[in-house]
């Protein structure tokens, strides 16, 4: 990406911040008594304009994956081996900042896939197509973009992998038996397991995948290996689509404000102390005929609690759900629901445990956004 693009991005970021502030101030106006009576028309106009402005700025920020994929053709052409490249989903749009950060890891991944294709001679002897095949397929779900990389070159030899895993004591024989093929494959990506020790044939490709994994995870995305329809393994990358604005429930914990995205919240409740039961020495409550864990937000956030505070006969909890699991999160105080502008915590703190980002609320105060995915 050239310098000019970066500068544009900086301007766009600033416009985005300004739009965010505009939205915040609009919601402050909405709470003012005087505006409720006489200013209703103005407010609804302002509402429409800010929403449209936000939408337009977001659209300007989005660029298609073509920006990255177009380089792939070149890489394939410059390769001495004959390779068939299948690209799908180039038209999917992702935030500019994300495209800039994804370009290098994805390009390196493609290069390692092309290197993984055997020479024509070898392919012929193995009964494979003379021409190698590399595919990159992107598609979109509700809140993420999924990109899958696959090649029909050298594959993981499962027997060899299993044998080496046991020899190197990475996992015991008993544990290995319980694992699915995909779980065994994904052992290769673990930090403390070196691919060279396991498979010398495709270790270069695995090393490259691990590098990409690290970068993708820093962007709050995921990377893992999956079995493909052809019984090869494919690399699956998921990237969160940045919805810069989301609805959140605001809560107070130890004097600080926190936001919990509403998509994670089932409901809020007051429960009496007598409803708290113990299972295996852990607090649980009954919720819709299920027993769910009761988690104290002080533990979740590693805050120290003053001992003498637990005299209340009732506590306030947020029922959060992550996938199929639910949990009750005990907070000090339940506040309002509001639209928040999601901001990253920056390169240094972006992988902080249980925190997904930050937002700035009306008076300039920062509220951290809780990540409750790992709560239950």
């Amino acid at each position: 990406m050239n310098k000019k693009n970066d500068l544009d991005l900086e301007n766009l970021d600033q416009i985005m911040d300004l739009v965010g502030e505009l939205l915040i101030n609009k919601s402050r106006l909405e709470t003012l008594e005087t505006f409720r009576e006489e200013g209703k028309d103005v407010l609804s106009q302002l509402d429409r304009i800010t929403a449209e402005l936000h939408d337009k700025v977001m659209k300007v920020r989005m660029v298609s994956l073509t920006n990255i994929f177009q380089e792939f053709d070149e890489i394939i052409e410059n390769n001495e081996k004959e390779i068939n490249l299948v690209l799908e989903g180039q038209e999917i749009k992702v935030d500019r900042a994300m495209i800039n950060k994804l370009a290098d890891p994805l390009t390196n991944l493609l290069k390692s896939l092309t290197n993984n294709i055997e020479k024509e001679e070898i392919r012929k002897n193995m009964g494979k197509d003379r021409k190698g095949k590399v595919s990159v397929r992107a598609h979109k779900t509700g809140n993420e973009v999924i990109i899958e990389f696959e090649d029909d070159g050298k594959q993981i030899n499962l027997d060899e992998l299993e044998e080496k895993i046991v020899i190197n004591n990475f996992v015991s024989k008993e544990e290995l038996k319980k694992m699915s093929i995909e779980e065994k494959y994904n052992l290769l990506l673990k930090d403390n397991i070196s691919a060279e020790k396991l498979l010398d044939d495709i270790d270069k490709k695995i090393t490259e995948i691990k590098k990409a994994k690290e970068i993708i995870e820093r962007l709050n995305g995921k990377l893992y290996l999956e079995l493909s329809e052809n019984q090869n393994f494919k690399i699956v990358i998921t990237i969160p689509l940045k919805f810069a604005i989301t609805e959140a429930l605001m809560v107070k914990i130890d004097g600080d404000l926190f936001a919990i995205p509403l998509e994670m919240v089932s409901e809020t409740k007051r429960i009496s102390n007598s409803e708290i039961k113990k299972v295996k020495n852990k607090d649980v409550i009954n919720y819709r005929e299920n027993t769910i864990p009761l988690i104290d937000s002080y533990d979740f956030l590693d805050f120290k609690k003053q001992e003498n505070e637990s005299s209340d006969s009732e506590i306030e909890v947020v029922i959060v759900n992550s996938g199929k699991k639910s949990a009750a999160l005990r907070v000090d105080e339940l506040l309002n629901q509001q639209d928040i502008v999601v901001k990253s915590l920056g390169d240094l703190l972006s992988s902080t445990k249980n925190i997904a980002g930050a937002t700035i609320i009306g008076d300039g105060e920062i509220a951290l956004i809780m990540d409750v995915r790992d709560i239950a």
Partner: protein, 152 residues
Amino acid sequence: MSETDNNFAKKQYITFSLGQERYGIELKEGKEILLPPEITRVPHTPKYVKGVINLRGGVITVLDFKDILGIDNDAIYNEEDKRIIITNIAGIVSGFMVDQMQGILTFSSEDIETENKNEMNSEFIKGIYTEGSEVIPIIDLKRLISSRKEAI
């Protein structure tokens, strides 16, 4: 001619106090100096992460030089003297707490002693500038930021 081509080129350095000692960073690494605003703590982070601040609508991480460099936390300065230096290192904008600003110095990079920097016992010092009896270690921000990026 670019700066890096010429070792004799003079550079400017921002200097500041950390506990009893005076330290410096390159002026061009600094973006601005702030009176510390309200800092929001971030859970599950190491001690040297003071938290995050709102800088004109952006969320900026604030780190403590003293905790990173292992300098004693002597309370010899007033709270009012404390400042946050906002830096931009390879696109990563962050803030650093210092006890007191000490002004800007200009000297050429050959005036910076790099030989005995190991005596400083810190991997984040790239050299030492000596002015009279005063010793001013120059902090290697690039190294510091990239190592923190790995660590946190």
